[in-house]
């Protein structure tokens, strides 16, 4: 092998620390010893590649997976997956999951006293096109209570899982909605120190993708780590 080009490490403050005590679950689960910084090797700059054969075409429409339409405000969530140098990342698998309009997940351990919706499972996936674009049709998830602290409520959010081109670019994150009054109080949203980085987790309302008489559009671009400028001898 000639040379290995790794992926850039994050700017300080733009990623959360593992331990964030206001998020109580992190206290017994965050490692206590410092991470060991290692140079990139072939193992980290490669990663799983998924082809179109893994994608079910209807999986990008969370409103058409059952006999009838789910309850709730219909939304279009779309955007691009790019690297830090604004290069589009094509053929990248995106998986999403979310609560229903009442704030209830279709999950055995979710005991929130809110109704399930027989017409809503709350999961979907798609793969980005040649320009890194993706598009989901869904309903706006509800906020829901959790037991992190007294009267704790999670702001409405959609979970995103993205692979990117390498093991090093793997990302799991959450997309929020503009103007959500719960955001300033949410320990998970606020785990990242950098205000600008937090702001990028909030989707933008978008007229261009809003469909008259049908659905509100929200734009959410996802940025994955860019390549190091200089290769390492390997």
């Amino acid at each position: 092998m000639a040379q290995i080009r790794g992926y850039r490490r994050p700017e300080p403050g733009t990623q959360p620390a593992h331990l964030h005590p206001p998020y109580v679950s992190s206290i017994k689960r965050a490692p206590t010893k410092p991470l060991l910084v290692i140079p990139p090797t072939l193992s980290e700059i490669t990663g799983p590649i998924f082809g179109p054969e893994i994608v079910q075409p209807k999986a990008c429409d969370l409103t058409s997976q059952h006999a009838g339409p789910p309850l709730g405000q219909r939304i279009i969530v779309s955007g691009r997956v790019l690297d830090e140098d604004a290069r589009p990342l094509a053929n990248t698998l995106i998986e999403i999951w979310q609560a229903n309009a009442a704030g209830r997940y279709l999950h055995k351990i979710d005991q929130h006293d809110a109704p399930l919706d027989p017409n809503f499972t709350g999961c979907g996936h798609t793969i980005t096109d040649a320009e890194g674009r993706y598009r989901f049709v869904s309903i706006r998830p509800g906020a829901y209570p959790w037991r992190n602290h007294h009267n704790a409520w999670r702001p409405a959010h959609i979970h995103f899982s993205i692979f990117g081109p390498a093991f090093a670019t793997r990302l799991v994150t959450q997309m929020y909605f503009p103007g959500d009054a719960l955001l300033p109080f949410d320990p998970i949203f606020n785990c990242t120190a950098d205000e600008n980085a937090r702001r990028h987790l909030i989707s933008l309302f978008d007229w261009e993708t809003t469909i008259p008489e049908s659905a509100l559009g929200y734009k959410f671009d996802i940025i994955l780590r860019g390549r190091d400028a200089t290769p390492m001898e390997s």
Binding site: P16, R29, S43, Y105, A168, R170, I188, L224
Partner: protein
């Protein structure tokens, strides 16, 4: 002008509704060549309690030491039907178990071969970003000269090396210990 990478957020407690579809506890279909192994273990929190809502992801080379990825330009054979990727959730007892083949050696820093290993991502409620670690194999002569293992203080290296199970050929045990004296070594890669 570059935009920093999107900030990570926890996978939360309900990820299985979105991530189950790709889950598979068998990485190597029949016909894929290589020594067959089963790796099992627990994910344990700071109180030593099993974590029932974690998911680990595996990435590995095939038996020839070749990754199914365009940036692996080595002249080694690919194995049809073997992607090298696996996703395994823990069960109600905090245990995971998956079957695969032992990977071959891949090149590392300085062009020197790395000891055979799997790279692992760990996700769970309570983790705001994934943890990255590695699984190495017991009794492997090249472990002693492995570049990455040599960066780890000797007393902590055993956390990265799976253990044989007496009398059970092909079964290995390896735990993810989040905190404490046996804390697994996690990497910033």
């Amino acid at each position: 002008m570059s935009t920093p990478a999107t900030t990570s957020q926890t996978v939360g407690p309900f990820f299985s509704i979105g991530l189950d579809r790709l889950g598979s506890n068998n990485l190597a279909a029949s016909g894929v060549s290589g020594k067959r192994l089963t790796i099992e273990g627990h994910v344990l929190d700071g109180d030593g309690q099993p974590v029932p809502d974690a998911v680990i992801e595996i990435w590995q080379a095939n038996t020839h030491g070749k990754y199914a990825h365009p940036e692996d330009t080595q002249e080694k054979a690919l194995e049809p039907g073997f992607s090298g990727y696996g996703r395994v959730p823990t069960d109600d007892n905090g245990q995971f178990r998956f079957a695969t083949i032992k990977p071959g050696s891949v090149p590392g820093p300085g062009g020197k071969a790395q000891a055979p290993h799997l790279v692992v991502s760990v996700f769970m409620r309570g983790l705001l970003k994934r943890l990255v670690t590695r699984i190495y194999f017991p009794g492997e002569a090249t472990n002693d000269s492995d570049f990455i293992l040599s960066l780890v203080e000797p007393g902590r290296r055993p956390t990265l090396i799976a253990r044989k199970v007496q009398g059970q050929d092909g079964l290995l045990r390896w735990n993810v210990v989040l905190q404490g004296s046996e804390e697994t070594v996690f990497f910033d890669c």
